[in-house]
Symmetry: C2
Subunit: 406 residues, 2 copies
């Protein structure tokens, strides 16, 4: 394999420093609530944002700041989403000004993000105090603390990095991500921040990210609710010294492969740590009529509450998978569907030609007792492959989201 | 009010008889599993079916049988959905033949429906034995037993009827419905059978039903899973003696009003008895830009798992409502949204101009402690009104759907 995993998260690529501190947005002083990520040089920058019509104020400010295709630093707080606040945009802009002053950059060089409760006033004071402090903490090994500072109800921090070679130059992509849950949950927010030292033009970086999210980050579902604050960014500072990628070529293809590996990692991590999740569900649809249909079917299956509850109960209720395929929009044939459930405990064929295939309930229950379940759907209807990631629906999900203020 | 509630369910209109028996499809002999509904005369008949690409065999047979716009009887079993069975269509046709013989009708006069587990063989024997038996039980007061026989995990049977006057003739519409759950649940299936003695042409009846389901039956959501067997039918036998409705006129409008009242009743009953539900959620969106946008917003809100879990927890988490409005597809403005929560315990304004409105958490918790919650959304963006019905997401939902075979 020419893409290998390495340590270091967002600070694995050359030229990136990061830090994470508690600045006072969250009440619990044990919890970090401010992350800062800075590159030595300007970065080609691409981003994707929530499709929700209610957008967090930081998203509006980030969109403006990276309109020129470049940024150099990223500031993210947890504990407050800065959404549905009348003065949210002004506050996000003021935070960018503070970060710019502290780092010797322009405010328009800053990517800003927030995650946490919505519709709650967010004071500037913690930022005014915290930004000089966090600037002093920046380090080449600070990726882990930054990954901790963007957590909300995530049960652990999430960082990852890969290494590969472009034209003899060692290149890296690093990432940190957070998933589903908040200390005072309003909605599950997905944030993914990716760094790389690959030299790539803003246009090609944007093309790579836009194509990638369709296959991975948009294929995660914990509870069907699209947050107001979802955001994924890639910052590429070119310090690996490879020939800048400015067109579709072999280097671009390899960069996309590495980016895909990083994003699939993020999907699996987020889904596995979904609110109340006891199992990761990874659905792979093969031989679909089109890529779009395959993606839609995979997402439909992992989004079905009935199927998610069945997985929690370790029940091979294949009818629910067929049902979810059946209500997927698009033009395709369902008559030849074949369905297998697989885990480290084994594999069982449960449905063939869209009808019941005699299987052992005991064997199926054993397969489903694992903590990662593969749902393998063969449509026999074309040659496209797609995946989606989700988690089971548990009592704990209801508890977290029903009882949190009582 | 010129539309009043009356007793009798599907047998309230003139000329309809019904019955419900146990014929042996369900193991538990205490549970009725076969319903039969017959009209003295041929009925103009309209139906709507699930949009799922996997359709229960009875749906395919019913579509053929009422292609001419008429039927005279309806046969429905519970306990087995007759879906994903290789010989399902032949079996459904054989049941229609049996019913036709027993009733002195043609097989193509029969509407057939099934609800229960999918992908399980369904033998003909219980029908061969049961159909003559149930024919002998038909009566003018049999609506209640028929309503019991179509139940699956419904906690109670559901029947309703209204009376109104067209040109001096007393007219009635009756209905029975079943909702979300099965004895061996695979998916929540909605069945609604409506009878009326109004004289109306098949074309106008179809127009009325198609328009009505968009406003009501398609606006229910228990868990987002569209069943393979959903079906709603209206059979109109004309025995009220009114001037036949053959065009858009005042009689048609009044008939549609009465039909709407019956269908809203069905929506409320189904949502309230959703699997594990402890609360009925009725969302009313006023001043939407278009009818379509209003319907989509209302459905988006009552479909949000995060909001449903908050309602279970009696938590006035208005951010989740805004979030669900925000990810609704369509072109509309969200800036002026106003949101109130209301029940028999009171009413509380929680959001104005899409931002937090200071409210008493205690007062809100009191409002949300009721068993029926109104979510009142004023978009201030047009003049259209729409509703949707759902239920909260409870521990019990997860238990029913996760543990049922263990």
């Amino acid at each position: 394999m020419n893409i290998i995993e390495v340590q270091g998260g967002v600070t694995a690529p050359q030229g990136f420093k990061a830090a994470g501190i508690h600045c006072g947005i969250r009440k619990n002083k044990e919890k970090l609530d401010l992350a800062l990520l800075v590159s030595d040089r300007p970065c080609a920058t691409a981003a994707v944002y929530t499709q929700n019509k209610v957008k967090g104020a930081p998203i509006l400010v980030t969109q403006q700041n990276i309109a020129d295709g470049y940024s150099q630093a990223m500031l993210c707080n947890s504990g407050n989403a800065n959404t549905c606040n009348p003065n949210g945009v002004e506050l996000a802009q003021a935070c960018c000004e503070l970060a710019a002053q502290s780092l010797g950059l322009k405010a328009s060089d800053i990517v800003i993000a927030s995650t946490g409760v919505i519709g709650q006033p967010l004071p500037l004071e913690p930022f005014a105090k915290g930004i000089p402090e966090i600037t002093a903490c920046l380090s080449r090994t600070g990726g882990t603390l930054a990954a901790q500072a963007i957590m909300t109800t995530d049960t652990h921090h999430k960082e990852f990095a890969v290494e590969f070679s472009l034209g003899g130059k060692t290149c890296r992509i690093g990432a940190m991500t957070k998933g589903s849950g908040m200390i005072n949950p309003n909605m599950a927010t997905m944030l993914t921040f990716i760094t790389t030292d690959v030299a790539i033009s803003p246009a090609m970086l944007n093309q790579a990210l836009q194509a990638e999210v369709k296959q991975s980050l948009n294929q995660i579902n914990v509870d069907g609710d699209t947050s107001t604050n979802d955001m994924a960014t890639v910052m590429a500072n070119g310090q690996a010294g490879n020939a800048e990628i400015t067109q579709l070529n072999a280097d671009y293809a390899l960069f996309c492969d590495a980016l895909h590996q990083v994003c699939v990692w993020a999907c699996r991590q987020i889904a596995k740590d979904g609110e109340g999740a006891t199992k990761l569900l990874e659905c792979s649809v093969s031989n679909a009529r089109s890529a779009q249909v395959g993606l839609a079917i995979a997402k439909s299956i992992i989004s079905s509450d009935l199927f998610k509850a069945a997985m929690f109960g370790q029940d091979a209720n294949w009818g629910r998978v067929l049902c979810a395929i059946g209500y997927t929009e698009g033009d395709f044939s369902i008559d030849k569907v074949e369905l297998r459930l697989k885990s480290e405990k084994g594999e069982v064929l449960v449905c063939q030609n869209a009808a019941y295939f005699p299987f052992s309930e005991e064997e199926a229950a054993e397969v489903l007792s694992a903590s990662e379940i593969q749902i393998l759907v063969d449509m026999h209807d074309g040659e496209h492959f797609a995946q989606a990631w989700g988690c089971d629906l548990s009592y704990e999900y209801v508890r977290i989201n029903g009882d949190y203020r009582s």
